[in-house]
Structures are given as structure tokens and as C-alpha cells.
């Protein structure tokens, strides 16, 4: 019999629809894997009963001959940044520990409506701030991948969606939600050998997603392959009148239109991404990608994104600025942690609660954000960063006059050992150097696995597309996927 937990979204959906197995069998299999993987710390809360409940509903619908949703029978992991009604939602923070929303985020509602079930709430970097999953209040997630050097160094699953990447890669879930502010879907996907897409800004509603940087935050799927991402993104996306930045556009049937024949398509290769000191193995994987896309019929063109080197500094002004304001609501007054020292007044309560409730990385970004917005510094930092953001977006607009999609590495390195970079915040921030420009421009971008490096660790290639052209991105991703033949899996050690 098939090992159900090796299956992805499409295979499960089809198998359930065909009656090859029941949704309940699938949910039970993944629940068992989740329960046996505590060592990975991918979940903050597990909800096996929710997964079973959704599965039973799908099985009942099938028995009754009802039409099944696009995710029917697929149990998924939910990043703990999405508010889930009646289930603790923490953003991996102490300040929201024990917070149980009375509401369900739009994206998770959409997924449940499509027939998906919830295995649990996935660990992440605290408030999605981090690139290694080491900033969670609930302890770091450990990647299922290890270097084959026998040292058993615990590896980073990437961040911030590190619980999501680990869960999918370790077969604890066939798919998971992620959110991407400056690479938080793509980088962990690349680190763990899975596929993830950040759609165009506004495709997925932000309503009910704990905010990090509102102008950048975008939800997206993380799964084994491009097809699974297409199916799941179709279920997640859609106009939401409750989000003023939501795109009022119909959701295309991305899955049905998947096509890896790239004849007539042009792929741009940005010369500025070929930075000095980039890992030669990363450059090699990029060259492989170029060859595969040519093989798929695409024409490869050299393009320039001249403001690339300013994108990361601009991102680390804009994102913390927005975060410093977005996180002001966690003040101990209405919900979450309250630290009220004996005889304390309001200001003391704020200070004590926030000192206790936020981790170091969150505090660092609140301080940076507060600084760049303060009187006398606003123009020098925030205004300049916004100008750069506009220039970065213009770079892409110009480039897309010459090509249909852009191919680049997802990250400058493969995964690293936990703790290896945590003392060097700037080095950590550099991890997002290839991911951030597309975030600033609000463009769809995907990471697909393209092989392993000499240490046996996965590498990812990134495809960036025009606004609203998720299809073009996924088609190019599919072309790479078909040619890369990525079959590596982490050895089970947990």
C-alpha cells in the first residue's frame, strides 16, 4: 500500500475523490507523523481532532455524492501567524501566549471551505521576524535535513516559515501555509527542498494574519511541488473586502493552466545578482536552471536590475518601521500577556509587558523601526527607503519589457547550522538579499528545489514574475521541476 504521508496535495485529493483511500486514513497517517516528530518542534499546537473532523466531513460529502472542494481531504499545517478560531494563535511570541481568537483568518477560512483540515499551528520566527527560526518563544524548529558529516549538527529550516518548511519536508504535512514579507516562504522552501510561492501582493487576504510589515506581508502555499502549490494557492487567494489592499481580481485556475512548454517565453537573468563572494555551488545551480529553461524552449536574456544592492537596506528600514507601529497593539491592556508590577501605572505596565513579552529580535526591529520614523530621521531613512522601493519596482517594470520571468537563486547559501549565524544579525539579514527585491515590488515569486550541494543540503531556484502573472511563474517553475528531477528526502532520524 502507498505510504499516504509521501503523497502531496494533488495525489491526496485525487485519491480521496477516487475512493483509493479515505480522508480519515490520510488525516490519521499525518496525525501519527506529527505526534512522532516532537523533536523537530515544528508545531506549537497540534490539532489532530480538527484534522479528523475535516476529513470525516469530506468522507461524508463524498459518500453523499456531493461535489468536493479543491483541497478536499488534504490535512495541512497552519503557520501560527494565521488567526484560527478557538485555537491558540501566538505568532510564536510570549506576548500572545494563550491568546485564542474568536475569529478565523480569511485565508484559513478559504482553505477549510475548500475541504482542507488542520493538523496544527506551525512554529515560526517570532512575529515572522527571522531567517532561521531561532527567534520563536517556543524554541527553534530543527530542519529534518542534516549534513552527512556525522556531526548531527541541528540545521536551520529557514525562516520565518520554518515550521512550515520542516513539516512539509519531514512529511508531517503534505502542505502548509506560509507568509512571506522578505523571503519567509521562499528561503525556508529552498533550505528544505520544497516548493513555495509568494503570490502578487494582495492576492491573499491579510485579514486575520498577525501583521509584521503590512505593505509586504503576503500569504502563500508551501508544498512538495508546483502543482500542489497551484492547487493550494487557488484555494487561499481571492478578493476580500475586509482587506483594503486586497486585489479585486478573479482567481485563475492555475492548476488547469500549468504548462511547462516555454516556447516563445523569455527568461531574464539579472546580472546584479551575480554578486562577489556568492557560493560557487549556488552559481552552478543557477547555470543549471538557465540550461533547463532553455531546454524547455525559453529564450534567455541578460537583464539589469540596477538598484538591487539598495533593496536589502531599504527593506530593513521599511519592514521594521511598519512593524514598530503594527506591534504597538500588544500592550497588555486587552489580551495576551500583562505584566503589572506592584504599584505600577500604565506606562510601567506597557514597559514591563513588552520587555517580558517580546524576544530580542522583535525588540531589535521595533527599535530600528522607531528610530527610522522619529523626528529628524524620517526623511533620511524612511523617505529615502520609499524612494528606493519605487526605483526597485521600476527596475522590474523595465526588465519585464524584455522578458516574461526572471530566474535567480533563492538564497546566497544553503541551510546553516542552528546558532551558526545568530550572533550576527546583519549576516542573517543577508540571507534575504535575493528574495527582498520581489517583496518590495509586490511581485509573485517562487522557489523550487533544484538539487543538493556537496554537503547534501537542498538548494532552490527563484522565479520572479510580472504582477498578477503567477501562472508564468509556476509554468517556469514546473519546467525546472521536471528537469531537476529533485527526489532527495531527509533521512528520518527524529
Amino acid at each position: 500500500m502507498t505510504n499516504l504521508t509521501d503523497l502531496g496535495v494533488a495525489a491526496i485529493r485525487n485519491g480521496v475523490a477516487n475512493g483509493d483511500f479515505t480522508a480519515r486514513e490520510v488525516a490519521e497517517a499525518f496525525n501519527a507523523n506529527v505526534a512522532a516528530a516532537k523533536e523537530l518542534n515544528a508545531f506549537i499546537v497540534t490539532t489532530p481532532e480538527k484534522a479528523l473532523e475535516a476529513a470525516d466531513a469530506v468522507d461524508a460529502d463524498r459518500a453523499a455524492g456531493k461535489e468536493l472542494g479543491s483541497m478536499a481531504g488534504v490535512p495541512i499545517g497552519m503557520k501560527d501567524l494565521f488567526a484560527t478560531k478557538g485555537v491558540q494563535t501566538t505568532a510564536a511570541s510570549h506576548i500572545l501566549e494563550g491568546f485564542t481568537p474568536e475569529y478565523e483568518s480569511t485565508v484559513s477560512s478559504n482553505l477549510w471551505a475548500a475541504g482542507a483540515g488542520m493538523l496544527g499551528k506551525l512554529n515560526l520566527d517570532q512575529f515572522a521576524m527571522g531567517s532561521s527560526n531561532e527567534t520563536s518563544y517556543f524554541g527553534n524548529v530543527t530542519s529534518p535535513w542534516r549534513r552527512p558529516d556525522g556531526a548531527n549538527t541541528p540545521m536551520s529550516p529557514g525562516g520565518s516559515s520554518g515550521g512550515s518548511s520542516t513539516a512539509v519536508s519531514a512529511r508531517l504535512a503534505p502542505a502548509a501555509t506560509g507568509t512571506d514579507t522578505g523571503g519567509s516562504i521562499r528561503q525556508p522552501a529552498a533550505f528544505t527542498g520544497i516548493t513555495g510561492i509568494k503570490p502578487t501582493y494582495g492576492r491573499c487576504s491579510r485579514w486575520g494574519v498577525v501583521a509584521f510589515a503590512s505593505s509586504l506581508d503576503q500569504a502563500g502555499p508551501m508544498a512538495h511541488d508546483v502543482r500542489d502549490c497551484a492547487i493550494m494557492l487557488g484555494a487561499m487567494a481571492g478578493f476580500d473586502p475586509k482587506d483594503a489592499t486586497s486585489l479585486d481580481l478573479p482567481v485563475p485556475d492555475w492548476e488547469a493552466a500549468l504548462n511547462s512548454d516555454l516556447k516563445g517565453k523569455k527568461v531574464g537573468i539579472p546580472r546584479e545578482y551575480r554578486m562577489d563572494g556568492t557560493d560557487p555551488e549556488i552559481l552552478q545551480s543557477w547555470d543549471n536552471g538557465i540550461a533547463w529553461l532553455k531546454d524547455a524552449g525559453a529564450e534567455v536574456v541578460d537583464i539589469s536590475l540596477p538598484h538591487t544592492k539598495y533593496a536589502l537596506p531599504a527593506y530593513y528600514i521599511i519592514a521594521p518601521a511598519e512593524a514598530s507601529s503594527n506591534l504597538a497593539r500588544y500592550d497588555g491592556v486587552r489580551y495576551g500577556l500583562r505584566d503589572l508590577p506592584e504599584g505600577a501605572g500604565l506606562q510601567d505596565m506597557y514597559a514591563a509587558t513588552r520587555a517580558e513579552g517580546f524576544g530580542d529580535e522583535v525588540k531589535r526591529r521595533i527599535l530600528i523601526g522607531t528610530y527610522v520614523l522619529s523626528a529628524g530621521f524620517y526623511d533620511a531613512y524612511y523617505t529615502q527607503a520609499q524612494k528606493i522601493r519605487t526605483l526597485v519596482a521600476q527596475d522590474f517594470e523595465n526588465a519585464f519589457k524584455e522578458c516574461d520571468v526572471i530566474l535567480a537563486p533563492t538564497t546566497p547559501t544553503a541551510s546553516f547550522g542552528l546558532g551558526e549565524k545568530s550572533a550576527d544579525p546583519l549576516g542573517m539579514y543577508l540571507n534575504d538579499v535575493f528574495a527582498v527585491p520581489a517583496s518590495l515590488a509586490g511581485l509573485p515569486a517562487m522557489s523550487v528545489p533544484c538539487g543538493v550541494n556537496s554537503e547534501g543540503l537542498p538548494l532552490g531556484l527563484q522565479i520572479v514574475g510580472k504582477a498578477f502573472d503567477e501562472q508564468g511563474v509556476m509554468n517556469a517553475g514546473l519546467a525546472i521541476e521536471e528537469r531537476a528531477g529533485f527526489t532527495a528526502k531527509p533521512e528520518k532520524w527524529w
Binding site: E102, R206, A211, A244, R329, V333, R334, A375
Partner: protein
């Protein structure tokens, strides 16, 4: 120029005043959430997830609030900015769940405009004056802290949190308490005409921050200003200025310096006191709200806003004077409040229809009736008057009978009294209660003939030139008719018979 001067020990001083008026926008729901805005509800019963700033909640602009701000801008002849944007003003306070107020610092929706305050010599406004308006921006109100509910704790009511406000910022164009008072009254009148704010200062739906500085007469430099926050009546606005001016002049003349600061007004002591100075002022870290897109106003929307504006106070007052022939005083009084002119215009319309006469011909009569006669009757009746019976129909019926000469002015009053007490029909009252004046020439002629017959001597004297005796004959006739004859008819008949 105002002649308001403050006599100091070192000479004469004048005052420079600017006002920031916060006006609550009339709308069923809040600026960025669907929560109700009704005043006086139980604490925390009108709070959405957005107002409480729950994790992941997002603001969605209420189009009606935008529309009302635009209409208000048009009513003060202001520039409407087709591109505007919301900014966050960041600070921590228990009545501000988000930790920031959504406001408009950099790109307000309404730019420069103006309003006219009318000359009022008694109040010290020697001539009409234009007061400039700097801008109107839209923002969220905060919640309310309640300190009197518990001995050691404060409570928070978030009902008001997120309600839409317009902040209407004047230029520093006012130079006396009277001008400031007139400005607030005129602004309130315009807001009520437009329907964008109920102007109810007692309930806090309109309140003013009063900026005051003083300088020596003849100086062109502005002095250091203070800002007194949240003043909630016209009287208090004027009192704040009086007291602040005195305080500043005394301070400077005693060798001190005015400090730029925020102050609070204590109506019981009639004085302002310091709240916080510029040194410990917040750094609000304004930046564009990333949850919201810029507001782009389309031509069709602007046209709809403009078409929906009613006739405004200045235009109405001019029309009353020029087209209806009302006195300046009547026109001014009738046009201040929406309720007043609405009552007047309805009554005028129905009465004109009853009489088949143009409105301009009877406007003064109707104005006098609605400004003085009718309120007089109501007042004299006190509790006996049932105002439900004070319908425009009933009053128009009375004015119609009076205009047709069927009843006299005093009969009109008597009939109205009965209407207010009983709700009976005016025509029926006139008939049943004998409250009609006779215009039947036959009956009057008979009486006149008798009187002339009985007073032959006086007739002779009159014909010999003693004109004053005409009044005697009128009086006798009216008496014989028990006061019910139409005096005009009596006059005409007597003139005919006496030659």
C-alpha cells in the same frame, strides 16, 4: 480689524487666535469599522474586532465619511484634494488600542478654504470678516477612560474609539473672543446645513483646540502660542481666550515668557492650566498607513458631492433679503439653524399656496408669525400647549384666513391657542367660536347708518373739517359689531358715506 485690545501695564496688546475644531462626522458606522456610532450606548457595546485592535484586524475606509468630509470642504469653498492619504500617528495610551491613531498629516483630503463671519457691532465685530481655513483632515477618535468607577483602577470604554472626526484647522485669522465665537457658531451652522456633523457640543460631537498668542499692538511678529485642548462650548472658547490672553500679558509684563505648551480649561475656576510642554511632547512618528491605499477621488464622485449640497447659510440669507424682502435681522435669525429655516420655508410654501399669492408678498408676515407670534403663543400657554398640534398645516390655515381678511391678528392668536390645546381644525374653531371678522357690507352698513343717524351733530362737525372724528365713527361701528367687523371694510364704507 477687530478693536479688541488688552490694556497692560506697558501698553496695549492684541490677540491672535487659531482654532482646530474636531467635528464628529455623521455616519451610522465608524471610520474604519462597521461598529455603530450611536451616542450614549452602554460601555463597550459598540466595539468591533478592528476597534479593539485584535491581532490581524485591518481598517477598511467608510466611503460615507469620505463623502461627508468632501461635502464639508465644498461648503467652505475649499480646495478638494483628489489624492489624499491616511497616516499613522503613533503613541501609547489606554484609550488607543492600536497604539496609533489613523489620521492625515501629509496629504489631507481638503485644502484651503474660508468662511464668513457677519458683522455684529454689539459683540465687537465691526464688519463682515473672512476667516481662512487651512485644511480639513479625517481621523479616528479615541476611546474614553473612566476614572470614577473603581478606587484604584481606571476603566476604558471603546464605544467612541474609531468614530470618524473631521479636524477643521483655521488660519490664525481671529483677533477677538467674539470673532472666535462667531467662527465656531458659523462653522457649526454650515456643518448642520451640510449634514456632516450634528454640531452637538455638549455630547462632544464638536470640540475645539484653541491656539492663542498675544503681541503688542503694531507688532507684526507672532508671539509664542499655547493650545488649550478639547473646549466644548462657544462660551468656553471665548472664556479660554479671555483668560489665556490675560495670563499671557501678565506673564510677559512681569518679565516672564510664554511657553509653547498644551493647556486644559477648567470651567469651574475659569482658568487654563498646563497639561504638557513642548519639551515632553510626543514624537508621533507619523508615516503612511500601510494597511490603506491612497484615496483617489473621481470627477463623478466630486460632482455627486457637489450636487448633493443644500443651499448654504450665506446664500440663503442673501436670498431671504433680496428675493423674499425680509429684513436683515429676520434673515439672519431664520438662517442660523436648519430646523428654523426648514419650519419657516415649509410654512411659507403652504401659506402661499393657500392664498394663491407669491411667497415674496407674504414672507414678512410669515416670518413675523414664525419668529414672534407663534413662539409667543407657545410660551404663554406653557405646559398647556401640545406641540404635536403645531403643524405647518394648521399654522398655514390660520395665516391663510388672516391673509384673506376673514380673521384679525388677535383672532389668529386666539385660534392658535385653541389649536395648541385641542388639536382642532383652525377653520372649524373660527366658525364655532365666532372668531371671524365680518366683511358682510350689508350688516355693517346697517349699523353705520344707525350710528350716523344717532350722531348727526358729529357728522356735521366732521364734514366741517374735524377729521379726527373719523376714529370715533370707526370705534362706534366696531363696538356695535362686537369687534368682529373687518376694520378695512368699515373704513371703506364710512369713507363713502361721510363723503
Amino acid at each position: 480689524m477687530s478693536n479688541y485690545r488688552i490694556q497692560g501695564a506697558t501698553g496695549e496688546w492684541e490677540v491672535v487666535i487659531g482654532l482646530e475644531v474636531h467635528a464628529q462626522i455623521t455616519s451610522a458606522s465608524k471610520l474604519f469599522s462597521g461598529a455603530d456610532t450611536t451616542f450614549g450606548a452602554e460601555p463597550n457595546t459598540q466595539v468591533s474586532l478592528i476597534d479593539a485592535a485584535m491581532p490581524g484586524m485591518l481598517p477598511v475606509p467608510n466611503a460615507e465619511c469620505i463623502r461627508q468630509a468632501v461635502r464639508t470642504g465644498m461648503a467652505i469653498e475649499a480646495e478638494i484634494n483628489t489624492y489624499s492619504r491616511f497616516d499613522r500617528k503613533n503613541y501609547f495610551y489606554a484609550d488607543l488600542p492600536q497604539g496609533y491613531q489613523i489620521s492625515q498629516l501629509y496629504h489631507p483630503i481638503v485644502g484651503e478654504g474660508q468662511l464668513l463671519i457677519e458683522k455684529d457691532e454689539k459683540a465687537g465685530i465691526p464688519e463682515d470678516k473672512i476667516i481662512g481655513i487651512e485644511r480639513i483632515h479625517v481621523e479616528q477618535d479615541a476611546g474614553k477612560l473612566m476614572h470614577d468607577q473603581h478606587p484604584t483602577m481606571s476603566y476604558v470604554d471603546l464605544n467612541r474609539c474609531g468614530v470618524a472626526l473631521m479636524e477643521i484647522v483655521s488660519k490664525p485669522d481671529m483677533t477677538s473672543p467674539a470673532e472666535a465665537g462667531a467662527y465656531v457658531r458659523k462653522l457649526r451652522s454650515i456643518l448642520r446645513y451640510v449634514g456632516s456633523c450634528d454640531g452637538n457640543m455638549e455630547q462632544g460631537s464638536m470640540r475645539a483646540d484653541v491656539n492663542v498668542s498675544v503681541r503688542k499692538v503694531g507688532s507684526t511678529e507672532l508671539g509664542t502660542r499655547t493650545e488649550t485642548k478639547n473646549v466644548n462650548s462657544v462660551r468656553f472658547v471665548m472664556a479660554v481666550i479671555e483668560s489665556e490672553v490675560r495670563r499671557q500679558v501678565d506673564l510677559i509684563e512681569d518679565g516672564g515668557e510664554v511657553v509653547q505648551e498644551t493647556r486644559l480649561y477648567d470651567p469651574d475656576k475659569n482658568e487654563t492650566r498646563s497639561m504638557r510642554s513642548k519639551e515632553d511632547a510626543h514624537d508621533y512618528r507619523y508615516f503612511p498607513d500601510p494597511d490603506l491605499l491612497p484615496v483617489n477621488l473621481e470627477d463623478s464622485f466630486l460632482a455627486e458631492c457637489r450636487a448633493s449640497l443644500p443651499e448654504l447659510p450665506d446664500a440663503k440669507r442673501t436670498r431671504y433679503i433680496e428675493e423674499l424682502g425680509l429684513s436683515e435681522y429676520n434673515a439672519a435669525v431664520l438662517t442660523v439653524e436648519v430646523e428654523t429655516f426648514a419650519r419657516f420655508e415649509t410654512l411659507l410654501g403652504i401659506t402661499a399656496k393657500h392664498l394663491g399669492k407669491p411667497e415674496s408678498e407674504i414672507a414678512t408676515t410669515v416670518a413675523n408669525w414664525s419668529m414672534s407670534t407663534a413662539p409667543g403663543v407657545v410660551k404663554s400657554l406653557g405646559d398647556e400647549a401640545n406641540l404635536e398640534y403645531a403643524t405647518a398645516e394648521a399654522q398655514a390655515a390660520i395665516l391663510g384666513m388672516q391673509g384673506a381678511g376673514d380673521i384679525s391678528g388677535s383672532q389668529a392668536k386666539e385660534i392658535y391657542e385653541i389649536v395648541l390645546k385641542t388639536g382642532r381644525e383652525p377653520a372649524e374653531i373660527a366658525e364655532t367660536e365666532g372668531l371671524k371678522q365680518l366683511s358682510d357690507t350689508g350688516a355693517i352698513e346697517t349699523e353705520i347708518d344707525k350710528i350716523l343717524e344717532a350722531n348727526q351733530d358729529k357728522v356735521e362737525q366732521y364734514k366741517a373739517g374735524k377729521d379726527k372724528l373719523f376714529g370715533f365713527f370707526v370705534g362706534q361701528t366696531m363696538k356695535a359689531m362686537q369687534g368682529k367687523a373687518n376694520p378695512q371694510v368699515v373704513n371703506e364704507l364710512l369713507k363713502g358715506k361721510l363723503g
